[in-house]
Subunit: 720 residues, 2 copies
């Protein structure tokens, strides 16, 4: 049957080529001006903050999407195509400069080489576009601009840039319809409290309260509580919602606003009745890639609850806390990014948060109005590139990096240093004792120098000729700062210089930063370790925020016993208090009602605060010891440390997959994915490896090069 066979073959060939063509064509996706979706969404989301029932959007300048943008694509097709155009906003279509869109949703694109331009106007929301043809489809290869070239203009140097896009691939799911997924949850406990109903969902959660069969005339009030005490305190609970009820027939009701809570007191008024209380939990689906397990169940629980804490705050953007604040803060986000690189490795949420924080030009104030928070934004791009190797995002953000840095550079004092100027909030930390924040602060100069290094790095990535200038500025500032603030008598950086004179006060902040940024000589590192980091007389750090850097400095100083003890006591202490997510602040000495109070209000303390999740970072980076040393883990170190535990094991996500590490006192196992790694460890004996060549690099110090996609085993003896 030669003929049928040939037909079949032909069919298979045709089918294959069709499939190939389809495989080459990515799905049409909604596109927009880069950063505009993120800014628009951050406005929506941050305006959901309430202070009890007062509306509380951010106090800093909020920006808008451009109301009119022009999307352009040069197309080459061999056959004519029919394009389906969907837009958020009114639009027009030109092909080769001629209007073709006459009120019809379909556009006929002739074969050959053509330039399609689609202008979308929308001043009620985000102008966005989706075009679907056989081969021509909107994606990041389309460009976008706020201005159209005309036959009269000189070609603009403000060339169109690559369009922004994410994963909005369906015509009926435009960017404006974005919402996080929801999932129904039922309480673990329900209790009558007066005429109300108190329910407990068993753990901190976030979402919309639902009432089954709500009926009657009157009102229903939800008193939300991260603690039971809070839900039982209608007058002082941080969040509450009141809804009028006029339901003749019983109907299910879902609150229109999502809140953070574990407990909720449902208080009906009038003749309002309802059956069950439940909820729709809203959030990103858990996408854990990082993992950690050890011989210590408390540490394991700490890792789990840290993961939960970060996940609760990983929403449209990285929030600092989900109950009260719900704004996006650069200093907090910077830490969330770092934790995320050891948990979900979610690049999209990092990108969104960086766009939202930066906003638009002109820069008139620091990010969140805070001097240090502008610097963390630069530093976070440095980190982002190191962890992900994502040049495209650096390229997209770079113009806004430059204008923010121009703003900073224009505000230097005569010494080329920064200090708090009109409009600036100099934050650093909420310290337990008064601390000067005026004049030149060493911590700010170090963050500034690190930011200049980020500029130099990114300028190099995008090929901007200013790279050398930024590099020089960074080096100069770093040298100047170390000489201006280093006190040879105290062998530490002092906190402040004012009117050219050192204030002898030493704080941990700048000494930690200088150590973490690698700005100190070995001798300075030693003196900072002993004279500052391990010196109880230096003002202690009481926020988990700065605790993040302090514990990192401890790890870098080899003080793993201290860190392990701190994990057990500080985070373990919160677990003992019943925490299902970690807190904004914890003081083991506070008991009873005091545990929940902050900012002078009885329940203002956030019990699900992103910066409480730092064990994720510490355990991944310093215990499992996995960290990139070149962009995107093309090179990386594995420097495991048991930290006093009997064994640890876990995974660290990288762009190429997850690196697995398993460590006991006598064996280290590493499973690699991509890039070249360097396993560095100490051993009391001469280590052996059946899978690689171990090199001695110093007294009891060894190294083994890790190739991609292999499993390594090293037998060694822990140095105690």
């Amino acid at each position: 049957m030669p003929t049928p066979l040939r037909s079949l073959l032909l069919f298979l060939v045709l089918a294959a080529s069709t499939f190939t063509a389809r495989a080459q064509t990515a799905p049409a996706t909604w596109i927009w001006y880069p950063g505009d979706f993120e800014i628009w969404l951050s406005n929506e989301v941050q305006a959901r903050r309430v202070e009890r029932d007062a509306f509380a959007p951010p106090f800093w300048r909020m920006d808008s999407a451009y109301p009119s943008v022009i999307f352009t694509k040069k197309t080459v097709t061999t056959t004519p195509e029919e394009l389906t155009v969907d837009a958020e906003g009114r639009y027009n279509v030109t092909i080769d400069g001629k209007y073709v869109q006459l009120g019809l949703p379909k556009v006929q694109l002739p074969a050959g080489e053509h330039t399609i331009a689609i202008q979308v106007f929308n001043q009620k929301g985000l102008p966005a576009l989706r075009v679907q043809g056989a081969a021509v489809r909107t994606d990041k290869t389309w460009t976008v601009a706020t201005t159209n070239n005309t036959p009269f203009n000189n070609p603009s140097n403000a060339a169109p840039i690559a369009a922004g896009a994410w994963n909005f691939n369906r015509a009926d799911t435009p960017p404006s319809a974005f919402h996080l997924p929801t999932e129904p949850k039922t309480p673990v406990k329900t209790e009558r409290v007066g005429t109300g109903t108190l329910v407990d969902f068993g753990q901190e959660t976030f979402g919309y309260v639902r009432l089954k069969n709500l009926s009657g005339q009157g009102r229903v009030t939800f008193i939300y509580g991260e603690s039971e005490d809070e839900a039982r305190s209608p007058d002082t609970a941080e969040t509450l919602d009141r809804f009028p009820v006029t339901a003749i027939a019983p109907a299910d009701f879902t609150a229109s606003s999502a809140r953070a809570f574990r407990y909720v007191l449902v208080q009906p008024e009038g003749n309002v009745r309802f059956d069950d209380v439940s909820m729709l939990a809203e959030g990103q689906p858990s996408a854990r890639r990082g993992a950690f397990r050890s011989s210590d169940e408390t540490i394991n629980k700490i890792w789990d609850v840290s993961a939960r804490t970060l996940e609760l705050n990983s929403r449209e953007f990285y929030f600092d806390g989900i109950k009260r604040d719900r704004w996006v803060w650069s200093g907090d986000a910077n830490q969330s990014y770092l934790m995320n690189y050891y948990l979900a490795f979610d690049q999209a949420t990092v990108q969104r948060t960086m766009w939202a924080l930066r906003g638009k030009d002109p820069v008139e104030q620091h990010i969140n109005t805070i001097l240090d928070y502008s610097f963390y934004w630069f530093v976070s791009i440095y980190d982002y590139y190191l962890f992900t190797g994502d040049k495209e995002t650096v390229q997209r953000m770079y113009p806004r990096m430059k204008t923010l840095m121009d703003f900073v550079l224009a505000r230097r004092n005569a010494d080329g240093m920064v200090e708090g100027l009109p409009g600036d909030w100099v934050f650093i930390d909420w310290p337990p004792e008064p601390m000067p924040k005026d004049g030149e602060l060493s911590a700010e100069q170090l963050l500034f120098a690190r930011s200049l290094e980020a500029m130099a790095l990114c300028a190099g990535v995008v090929g901007d000729s200013r790279a050398a200038e930024y590099r020089t500025l960074a080096t100069d500032l770093r040298n100047k700062t170390l000489s201006a603030f280093w006190d040879p008598a105290q062998k530490a950086l002092v906190h402040q210089r004012k009117d050219g004179k050192q204030n002898p006060l030493v704080t941990r902040y700048s000494n930690m930063f200088a150590m973490l940024f690698g700005y100190l000589t070995p001798a300075q590192i030693e003196s900072v370790k002993t004279g500052v980091i391990l010196n109880d007389k230096v003002m202690r750090i009481t926020t988990p925020y700065m605790n993040f850097y302090e514990l990192e400095a401890m790890c870098q100083s080899g003080q793993f016993d201290y860190v392990t003890k701190e994990l057990r006591e500080y985070w373990g202490g919160m677990l003992k208090e019943g925490a299902t997510s970690f807190w904004e602040f914890y003081d083991p000495k506070e008991q009873g009602a005091a545990r929940y109070a902050m900012y002078g209000r009885p329940f203002a303390k956030s019990l699900a605060h992103a910066w409480g999740a730092s064990p994720l970072y510490l355990l991944g980076r310093y215990y499992l010891g996995v960290r990139p040393t070149a962009p995107g883990y093309s090179e990386y170190d594995v420097v495991p440390n048991l930290g006093g535990l009997e064994w640890i094991e876990g995974k660290v996500p990288t762009p190429a997959g997850d690196i697995a590490v398993n460590v006991t006192a006598t064996q280290i196992k590493v499973t690699t994915v991509g890039g070249t790694g360097h396993l560095k460890f100490r051993s009391a004996n001469t280590p052996t490896s059946p899978t690689g060549a171990v090199t001695k690099t110093g007294d009891q110090s060894y190294e083994l090069t890790l190739q991609a996609g292999r499993e390594y085993v090293v037998n060694y003896q822990l140095v105690r």
Copy 2:
């Protein structure tokens, strides 16, 4: 009855004090961030342009209102007040930094000194606020900012600025509800054309077509025509609207879009039926203060039709043309402002147009992308201040003047001059012959110099220390331009310099500007008059746009006979063609269909174009001769000129009222209002005045000082 009397007295006293308090308290008015209403509205309005049925918003960058603004007022009241708060957007209220607004529309303000702050968030439109109390009411004394100060920030140098406001005084007429008033009109003629109905409204108008008793299933199409030919040309008419009809019972129908037309062809399809065609005309109510009458009925008609032309284009903003373009263009608007100062003296529309044109920072391109159009914007503020003396508006605009000028200054070449750079459109004019637009153009340098003078003036008004710097830049550029472009051989400014070399081409543009700006020596003025302005060999001007400045230069050169002849022939020619408003372009040689063609399309020519109304300006400023010489007509000249007419009379509006002028060959009458005027005239005999002292200032030249609020009569003999 002492007691009742005392009660009555007391009542009267109380009533009087209440009335006084009321009189002192202006009505509560809607307020916003200055410029934001204007930018928001200009987006709405400019996006109403269509190219036939394709949507055609501007091709330049459009900006947005700030989505979150904070309005603040320090209040001192002797009694507590209840404030009614209305906002466009969600909002919160703090008094002395504490939230008081808990979802209620009323706010209780205690007596005493307090600071009210109201934050309004709205990213779907314009955040706006209205607060109504007994004494505390929103108005321009409230301040507004995009950032709130917090207890942590250093006081910002970006201090809150005075809020923007206009005349939205009622709670139920917020800024977003703004629309121009409408008025029903019926056609003067109705005619059957095939299956359609052609109606003629008798004159150019703008509005919504209405159909009485529309019924049936199908579609109705409106073919609009400024000319009858256009309305009869469904395939080539510039504007048309198609509406589906599915009306079982007859109902009146009003088109949802307003268009410019005199004629409309209503073309039903399917079984669609209707009775009468009428319209709702939409526009600013006529508010003529300027007036002009003369012995020449054609000139009088020209003035009337000019007034009508300007009024048709005086809408939400000054448009260049109402049919096709409907965008706001700086060069065109600059002329409309000048005409307006001699007709309605409408400051609000000038302000709105200036805000809309300027948009927001950062400046990334010239206004309308056109180099010269940025300069006209500066010049127009100079003019605005001279005519109105309105310091408040200068103060409000000044920050955006500075940033636009910074943009211009940063784009100077090594010689400190401007030339077309990437992204720039160098326009000048649509010349009848090719004309170079690259390199340094003398016209652009002169507009630049004039803009720097505007900066210096406004810097002085607001007390900016950069005034001297701008003054120096202006003087330097003016001197440099005159020496670089003046050709001693041709005794004129040449058009272009490129690579340091003069191109010998002379055009009228820069020579006119130099004369009008007062940059020429008396000798240069003479040679420019004879060698350029009155020289037929120099490329003629064919657009009414540049004709505006050319005729002004003619007036300044004393060529009134030429101007009067031009009025009669050019504008009178349009009248003979049946114009009911003046055109974008007119060439008496064009006949038949050619009269309406432009830009290569048969009906693209606008028959109601603002720049066609320049006789308003010429007749007011140079025939009646009234013009300010100090801000707001605090000083002014009256230099009447009959221009060959037997008599002229009219009024010129000023901030203090209308100055009336009546001139014959033997008598000049002036009725003054405010300020100090200088009547300047020539007389063949020795003039006498029963009302003032006439001073001889030269050969046949006389002057009389005009005090405020007086009527002056001078008997003289016209110098022929």
